[in-house]
């Protein structure tokens, strides 16, 4: 049975249900136990599953991931949390040099099925150090999935699938979606495939590639453009690594025009790789250069309200981008 719930409730429910189903699943991180998490994503788990399975860790991202990796080697399926993407620095080696490469360096002798939940994204007044997107540091490295759900349905289904996946996974949850995104979510356990982009809206005139919080803004803009006579196909990437080349390329070949929208800074954002893929596989189909609408190349995100507004991609900027592409 599906009800309408928020993104954060979907995350919370996925954790509750999967931990009930599989006692190898455990969570650890800062403030997620007794405190229920900064945003309450883990509310109620401590009370239900106890201190062993819901561990308030010391303030040390390195060992949060290190302990999770180790526990995964003896059969657990740990779901460590990094409280804000901005603070993942201490865990970059554990994530990329250890988790992502452990299977490779042991030729499959060890596998590391951990799912790292990370809260990211701007637009909530968090300012520098509480707004950052750094998905590409991870999407660049082979061996670890980078997921960015945009709806409550995907949040639940992808989180469950991630926990069951044998690969290490980075599961990025956009803080702006937690309470603003609402949608139908089945009450039961289900999974969503981890390497498929989702066509959120079909259209023939242009393709917009996006993910995370931007998806809903793009959807709104697409509806508005529809009124103006332009039908945009909206593709929600869902997975930044690996990318679903097939869906991306197919859509671009069909519409011949492509706009990429992300809130990450422009240079070397995931948009760069998307352009490169389209250049490789849809070159002869494109009627216009692929356009990128992104955050500016400045440290994300300056605090003062006018500065934050300047940084963030919003519906108006998206509409302008779509108009520009349509007019090319």
């Amino acid at each position: 049975m599906a009800r309408t719930i928020t993104f954060i409730d979907a995350i919370n429910e996925a954790l509750h249900q999967e931990m009930e189903r599989d006692d190898r699943v455990c969570i650890l991180g800062e403030d997620l136990g007794m405190g229920g998490g900064v945003f309450k994503a883990t509310a109620g788990l401590y009370q239900k599953f106890g201190e062993e399975r819901v561990l308030d860790s010391p303030l040390a991202e390195g060992i949060i991931i290190g302990a999770a990796i180790g526990a995964s080697l003896v059969g657990f399926r740990p779901v460590p949390e990094i409280q804000f993407a901005d603070f993942i620095g201490d865990a970059v080696d554990p994530i990329l040099q250890q988790a992502a490469k452990l299977r490779y360096r042991s030729a499959g002798g060890f596998t590391c099925p951990i799912t790292i939940r990370v809260c990211w994204g701007g637009g909530t007044g968090g300012g520098l150090y509480h707004s950052q997107e750094n998905t590409v540091w991870f999407a660049h490295e082979p061996g670890i999935r980078v997921l960015v759900p945009s709806t409550p349905y995907d949040a639940k289904g992808m989180l469950i699938a991630a926990i069951r996946d044998e690969n290490p996974v980075l599961f990025f949850e956009h803080k702006k979606l937690y309470r603003t995104a609402k949608g139908e979510v089945p009450e039961d356990l289900y999974t969503v495939p981890l390497d498929k982009a989702s066509v959120r809206r079909p259209g023939r005139d242009m393709t917009v590639l996006t993910y995370g919080y931007m998806t809903s803004l793009v959807m709104n803009a697409a509806e508005e453009m529809s009124k103006r006579g332009v039908e945009a196909e909206v593709v929600d990437l869902r997975s930044l690594a690996p990318l679903d080349r097939e869906t991306i390329v197919e859509s671009a070949r069909k519409t011949s025009r492509c706009l990429i929208v992300h809130e990450d800074t422009k240079t070397l954002g995931i948009g760069a790789e998307l352009v490169a893929i389209l250049n490789e596989e849809a070159f002869d189909y494109l009627d216009a250069p692929v356009m990128r609408l992104t955050g500016p190349d400045i440290p994300p995100v300056p605090f003062s309200p006018p500065l934050e507004k300047f940084f963030m991609v919003d519906e108006q900027k998206i509409l302008a981008g779509m108009e520009k592409l349509a007019a090319y």
Binding site: G33, D56, A60, G62, D86, G127, L128, D297, P302, P306
Partner: protein, 335 residues
């Protein structure tokens, strides 16, 4: 420094306990100022006057003031998220401190950093990042630089109990130990790191024992006793100036409110909070001063009135200060 007063009620009597009335009243005044500014900052946030968040220092003023009050202009402070008041103690004009909260163009960082993450370059207060313990590494580097320049300036850095778990805390202490740097690591142990209690943070009882892992000096004091803190800090600073190396100074204290203004802190027991509020460092010091005939009710009122006026002016300044222009976002990325 004229007459010296003998400290009678504070713990850990030492030879350094004879402090001048001016100094004692200065410490007092500064604690009250920090308290009142912080409470004002909280009110303004609740009134929706500024965005972002704020990390109150209320309850921990003895550690803040005791450690940094007597620093010289050329000494450095490396604050963390909870030490907005470091700027005040280092004598930054209040108007800029409040402009910082508002993210206005007159804040030292022109609205770039969040309200609580304030620095003041002219006064050698390092603009903090949120990253826990980063300030300790940078502060340690400053101390290394100062020592290499043959200066006798020191660096006081602040952090919490939680910060002592992250690796960079240890890298900083270890480096300072090797080079005997003029560093004072003030650990404001308020028993909680956000919602995580000390027993889940470490197996230690005294966080000054972190020093033992690096062969440097460590001392734990009653962080709600301004004189206890002041004396230990003064000794540590003197040793640092003298080339005798770094110190970890643990102040055992308590955070009165939530981790930040959006945290109701339901994970703590009401009794614990109440107990600690009874240990409020300000009335405690007032009692001491009164006993030594240094403070009466009238003077108390006068101190508060003066500070209230100062705060009101500062808030007015902050409110009138313009927001930065949107394009300010593009400035200062590259030199």
């Amino acid at each position: 420094m004229a007459t010296k007063v003998n400290r009678a009620t504070a713990v850990g009597e030492t030879s350094a306990s004879r402090l001048s009335p001016e100094l004692l009243l200065g410490l007092y005044r500064m604690m009250v100022k920090c308290r009142m500014c912080d409470e004002k900052a909280r009110i303004l946030f609740r009134q929706g006057k500024y965005a972002g968040n704020f990390y109150s220092n209320v309850g921990q003023e003895a550690g803040e003031v005791g450690a940094a009050y007597s620093l010289r202009d050329d000494d450095w402070v490396a604050p963390s998220h909870r030490d907005w008041t470091s700027n005040i103690i280092k004598r930054a004009p209040l108007k800029y401190c409040f402009a910082q909260l508002y993210g206005k163009a007159d804040s030292p960082d022109r609205g770039k950093s969040t309200p609580a993450h304030m620095g003041y370059p002219e006064l050698h207060v390092i603009t903090p990042a949120s990253t826990i313990a980063a300030q300790l590494m940078i502060g340690t580097g400053v101390a290394w630089g100062l020592r290499r320049q043959g200066k006798d300036s020191v660096v006081v850095s602040f952090c919490g109990d939680g910060a002592t778990s992250i690796g960079w805390f240890h890298e900083a202490l270890n480096f300072a130990g090797v080079h005997q740097l003029p560093m004072i690591y003030v650990v404001q142990n308020n028993l909680w790191a956000e919602s995580v209690p000390l027993r889940l943070q470490t197996a230690l009882k005294n966080l000054s024992d972190r020093a033992k892992g690096h062969g440097i000096a460590g001392v734990s004091v009653d962080g709600n006793d301004i004189l206890d803190v002041y004396e230990a800090a003064t000794a540590a600073i003197a040793r640092a100036r003298n080339g005798e190396g770094p110190t970890v100074l643990e102040c055992k204290t308590y955070r009165w409110y939530g981790h930040s203004e959006i945290d109701p802190a339901k994970y703590r027991m009401k009794e614990e909070v109440e107990e600690w509020k009874r240990k409020d460092p300000i009335p405690r010091f007032e009692k001491y001063l009164a006993e030594h005939k240094l403070l009466d009710d009238e003077q108390k009122k006068q101190v508060r009135d003066e500070i209230t006026r100062e705060i009101d002016e500062a808030v007015e300044f902050a409110e009138k200060s313009p927001y930065p222009a949107p394009e300010e976002a593009l400035e200062h990325v590259w030199a």
